[in-house]
């Protein structure tokens, strides 16, 4: 899986992912989110616009990241999810918690 991090704003980090978010790539994604939060960016946007597929392990990594962000008085938002990712979120009811946004720009404002 491709991963890239950068600052979106003060205290806001972006993690852009590409490829399949599954049991192979999930531990690395979780670690990248932890690193952003540990590095003083408790608000994290995970851009999923180049993610083609997500399984329950990938979902677990996002939930872990969300919990970690909230422990640090921050939050985690996702953007750009495709239909497969949205279906996984809907069926698990986690769309109500992770509340997917269309774009990074939308996810990155009004925290």
């Amino acid at each position: 899986m491709d991963m890239e991090t950068r600052d979106l704003a003060d205290g806001v980090g972006l993690l852009a992912l590409g490829g399949r978010l599954n049991m192979v790539s999930a531990p690395g994604v979780k670690a990248a989110i932890d690193e952003l939060i540990g590095g003083g960016r408790p608000r994290v946007v995970v851009d999923l616009s180049s993610v083609s597929f997500m399984d329950s392990s990938g979902l677990g990594a996002l939930v872990a990241g969300l919990k970690r962000a909230r422990q640090a008085q921050g939050d985690l938002r996702i953007s750009g999810a495709n239909e497969q990712v949205l279906t996984v979120l809907r069926l698990t009811n986690l769309d109500r918690v992770l509340r997917p946004r269309d774009t990074v720009e939308e996810a990155g404002r009004d925290w």
């Binding site: 599954n22 049991m23 979902l59 677990g60 939930v63 872990a64 279906t87 069926l91 986690l94 918690v97």
Partner: protein, 145 residues
């Protein structure tokens, strides 16, 4: 539009990629199959295969055979493994994970939600999973169960 596909090997993380490639082949060979149905089927198949990789024993040494049939009205797959363990089925048959913020334990539940039929059987020292997605059962937005 019928077709049959087969793959086998050791249930290790690398085999997930091969499974995705097989599903891509199905997608290319059968452009008439509803994409939402195929996407939900692929998600379920990958979850079940991932469950075998994660929980199968002895770890890394479980052999599997995967067969997939494209029929006029359904997609059907059988995953047979020579697994020492009987899987934990506590999240099958509608039992949603208790903790909405759990970081794991959703795989089987999610697979079942994506399918019209998910069956497990133990035969000798083999675990046999049967997965069915009906091709006329897909709602427009793949809504909640």
């Amino acid at each position: 539009m019928t077709g049959e596909y087969r793959m086998d090997g050791l249930a290790v993380p690398e085999s997930l990629e091969q499974l995705h490639e097989l599903l891509e082949r199905v997608r290319r060979d059968h452009p008439d199959v509803d994409e939402t149905a195929l996407m939900m089927f692929e998600t379920a198949v990958v979850e079940i295969h991932g469950n075998v990789i994660r929980h199968g024993r002895p770890r890394g040494k479980v052999s599997y055979e995967f067969r997939l049939e494209v029929q006029d009205d359904r997609l059907r797959a059988h995953l047979t493994t020579d697994d020492d363990e009987v899987p934990d089925l506590s999240h099958l048959h509608g039992l949603e994970p208790a903790d909405p913020m759990a970081e794991s334990g959703r795989g089987l539940w999610l697979a079942e939600a994506m399918l019209d039929e998910l069956r497990y059987a133990r035969s000798g020292n083999h675990n046999i999973w049967t997965m069915v997605k009906l091709l006329d059962s897909v709602s427009g937005d793949a809504g909640r169960p």
